[in-house]
Symmetry: C3
Subunit: 471 residues, 3 copies
């Protein structure tokens, strides 16, 4: 099995290995991700290797698409229910035949490490070995030790946050709590993600607002009732263990409307008369409302701006959302965050973790902002940026202005349960290498580097995401 150290020369690599050894076995804190809570609530065996590893992983299917292999040949379901490949082995062979496409990508590394560390399969994947690898993984998946909860323990996960909409009934989390796995301070907790009840551009927004009324008994036909319903759902989420909310808007814009302005906009939306600019203003304003709620209930806010959703129109038409058709765009933070920061940026009770898909804001905007406002922390490089070279560049770009302690630690942000350990492992290795470079250059003593690495890997995310307050 490869044992990469993302270091620049043998001396730094030696220091990096020493630092990494000190954090390799620390428990995993996963404060932001997209694992289906039903997976752990129901604890059923995983399906075949292709359905586990390829079909739901848009990193993998988009790379194959980029070379002309349609998602249907990889088993990705069609919106029209039309035929797609159903034979896991056939899908698996397609991956093996095109394995060279993944050279230099984190997907290759994540998959190889997952095969090796989770399933004990160290055979190199090629067209010739495709069936062997498939069979070996399939055999493991049939064993009881490879059910989700058993793997959760094997992976050393201390806490895993999933992500749910306010209109989710949190039934899976109730089941987890009943089994001693969930609830406040539990091992599996939820995250409050209100995008689809906030974003008037979403086709089901009005319907979702109606569902909020059903769930809470509040009259969401008024703005005051709408806000009250959101507060009620936050309480329910906190009961299901949530310590944070998540907001995935197109831009980072925030706005601080008067109550009357906000109410007027909300009503315009319900009447179906809001245009794109109205929707943007309402999303921007709701971030201020959520900040106010956070001051009351303590949820940490996460902002994930910058993804143009469903840029690939034909892919969306055929296969729907979240299948690899999103593309980042340039993101402004300096002006966009100003209304939020004017109002609450100096309040240390508020915690806002900001992510980016636009690394070309790192030294210019993100580091100066996080290094200048008590409420602001920088989230881990995300999605397209969750890769060794990019993570390294991010540290190099933000540390000199923001230091380490205005960053919030790694989040895996993944749907792929089995890839959680390797994703954290990569982050630990990259941070070890970056810290080793400081040590090797005589910019930081080794003992402080070791302490910093443990903070980044474990203590910092636990504290910043308020996961250190057991129920």
């Amino acid at each position: 099995m490869s044992d990469p150290i993302f270091a620049l020369d043998p001396r730094q690599a030696a220091i990096a290995r020493e630092l990494y050894a000190g954090v390799r076995d620390l428990p995993l804190i996963s404060p932001h991700g997209h694992v289906d809570p039903g997976l752990l609530a129901d604890d059923q065996p995983f399906p075949d290797p292709a359905r586990l590893i390829i079909v739901p992983d848009h990193y993998v299917t988009r790379m194959l698409l980029s070379q002309g292999i349609p998602p249907a040949r990889l088993g990705v379901p069609r919106r029209d229910g039309g035929p797609v490949e159903t034979d896991g082995r056939v899908i698996w062979r397609l991956l093996a035949d095109n394995w060279h496409l993944f050279r230099g990508t984190p997907s290759r590394f994540w998959l190889e490490r997952t095969f090796a560390t989770v399933f004990g399969v160290e055979t190199r994947l090629t067209s010739a070995t495709a069936d062997d690898v498939y069979d070996a993984i399939a055999a493991k998946l049939a064993e009881p030790g490879f059910r989700p909860r058993a793997l959760f323990e094997k992976f050393g996960i201390e806490v895993l946050a999933t992500t749910e909409s306010p209109i989710d009934d949190l039934g899976k989390h109730a089941k987890l709590a009943a089994d001693g796995w969930g609830g406040p301070g539990g091992r599996v907790i939820t995250t409050f993600r209100p995008d689809h009840v906030v974003d008037m551009d979403h086709e089901a927004w009005a319907e979702n607002v109606g569902k909020l009324a059903d769930l809470t008994g509040e009259d969401t036909g008024t703005y005051a009732g709408y806000l009250a319903s959101l507060r009620r759902r936050r309480e329910a989420f906190i009961e299901a263990g949530a310590t944070s909310s998540d907001h995935g808007h197109l831009t980072a814009r925030t706005a601080n409307l008067s109550e009357a302005e906000a109410a007027a906009l909300f009503e315009k939306g319900l009447r179906g008369e809001a245009d794109a600019a109205d929707a943007e203003t309402f999303r921007a304003h709701m971030l201020l409302e959520f900040a106010r709620m956070s001051l009351d209930d303590g949820l940490v806010m996460q902002l994930h701006p910058g993804a143009v959703r469903d840029h690939n129109k034909q892919l969306f038409a055929a296969h729907g959302r979240d299948v690899g058709g999103d593309i980042p765009q340039a993101t402004d933070y300096v002006q966009a965050l100003r209304p939020l920061l004017d109002a609450y940026g100096m309040d240390p009770r508020l915690r806002v973790v900001v992510y980016t898909l636009d690394e070309y804001t790192a030294s210019r905007e993100l580091a100066p902002l996080a290094g200048g406002y008590p409420a602001l922390f920088l989230g881990a490089p995300w999605w397209f940026l969750d890769a060794p070279d990019t993570m390294r560049r991010f540290r190099e770009a933000v540390t000199e202005t923001a230091g380490f302690y205005n960053t919030a630690g790694f989040v895996d942000d993944t749907r792929a349960f089995c890839s959680i350990p390797v994703r954290h492992d990569v982050a630990r290795r990259v941070d070890a290498a970056f810290l080793a470079s400081l040590v090797a250059q005589d910019r930081l003593p080794l003992d402080e580097a070791a302490e910093t690495l443990a903070d980044l890997a474990y203590h910092l995310p636990k504290r910043i995401f308020r996961l250190d307050k057991k129920a």
Copy 2:
């Protein structure tokens, strides 16, 4: 002679040298450049060293200009026919006296390697040695083995594409074909570059559209006739070996107008009534038309956006175009390419190679786009970015999302015939060093790195530019 390996430490350098040795002598595939086809058609001896190496090289003359040496002192012709330096030796001495300006630049490296590998001159250039170097090169230029065709063979060029306008009569390419050097599958081929018959902002646009009529017999007074004439010229270019078109617009904007809208815009242009916005829309729309033509005739589309032409107004006034007065600007791809990608991005028959002068789009836009659309490939870092550190950064920024196989290989893009080998050599060395860093970090096995390097250096550009289909 220097033998640089662009690697970060001795261990990586050793791996890089091993990888590089495997591709050093592969034939050169040059699918995009600006060598005058008459050079090889006529095969005349080169003029003196200064006229060969300094006068036409805007990388060199602009650097000297930036320190106050006017182009006229370097022999660059004036538009008004006014006097310029004509003594090659005097020009050469000016370069030698200012050689320190080129420290750290690719120009220095290209020139030194050209002196050494093409002309066998290893003397370091200084004020004191200027005449010796000049004389040594001049002596070589007088030998028959230093005529263009002899050098072409010595350089190991397998295929060289030049660039012509649709209103060029392709006479030099006919001569080359007659000599067994040109035509489909030949050693010297053309590229279809229609900018000046598409760009209404160009002062000679209407005149050029008229010339299209003369060349094809189509009535280019109508939009339908204009399109037909372009199709006819593409046929002629394909007969002259072309496998690609090239489009050098200010922005990457594409647009998909209706036929009626496009025709109205075209007619407005012919009436001299089009404004800057009309011209931009028409350019944008024509990229969709060319994509449709490519689906029929198979020409690979190259998009080269982002250069503000003739930013240096006084330089343009004195010396005209292409003398070093262009400056890059920020370029958007995510929204700009959307109309093209909506229409044809999922069609694997189409190949669009996109270049950039704005490296700050690499991880945010270019890699996600190329890694998500079958039709899209990333061209080599271009012009100001065609330099070792920049090329390295580009690989580091795009590989983790797009891999290697959504990139299209190196293009030298040069007017400087004698610099072709060294430019390809630099690209091979940089890619060898980047791959060596992956090997040294245990991120890629050596055998796969070697295969990848050969693909980047030779097989990939040959395949993507459709140069593997001999006539």
Copy 3:
């Protein structure tokens, strides 16, 4: 004491050390900074360590603020005169208790090196050692050898430029000249910074224009008189040793209005009727006026665009300007500088040194511009970018297009007198390491690297800022 070499591997580090040794002891040229001239004019002892090192250093106070420590607890004066911490020792302990926040930042490095090289204190700062370090520094501050002029000589400063407004009476500089320390060719000189008499958005603009009249006897109620008064003040600044002006606008915009347009705008401003767009246009135009004045009087122009002043509204309300509340924003140079470059970019008598807070313009805009216009030079990475990794990236991004000789050398830009030597030392170490990487890769011979490093460290800034012309 740490002795960092910002090099990537031991071989490069060895070359870097050799190169660095050649420039370590060269005199310091400080053509741009914000030291109070009264410090050297009056030559009084420094106050306690906290008031010297923490209170006025917004790099330090903003980092502590970012983790919730309010500036008042650090002794930063309040605008309302309200209470702030006054016990230097208490402030010092707060820094020591939070020293880990500065890991990986230049502040840590600057402070540690200042403690060690200026005060001879090598104890590592911790909560436990805070008092020892404080006492040791305090003891030194009481010695005569630690007065400003003594330190100036000990630091090896050859020339130090301070920055004054045209409405400053330059009395401190007169005192320095009387003592043989100031005036043309002197050791302490001034810089002409007219922002607050140019920027109509500034609350005291009209008042400041009135003060210009008082100082010069010109009628600044007319545009012609206003220009005349500025010319008169430039003469006075040149008498106080100035060789450059400095312009810190929000953007890099320049504009070339007719005299009538400019006069109309000026009068509109005086009537209090100018809006934000008018103010921006007037600032832009005044850069052209100052360029014209520079052609006459030889002052080098420095442009420092891109800082959003007082982004942190609450911080500004409590503590005023220049306390860490500014944030950079994206900056365009290509279009913004065009009017200036169209008019005077080709005139080698003009020198414009351009700085950036937006490193994501370096290879795209700044290097091509500086490498293409005789009048343009690139200033050192500034403020948030004045740090080892960022400085390295800047060299890597600009050298391949602009070379070394279109950059203007290091400026410390600091208010912190005691940090001047270490800031220059870091720049010399970073450039040594960058040059060493070229040598190690066989891209530059060692002797040329050594010459280049001495130019960057000493000769280049001296020449470009016209500090080589003794009175």
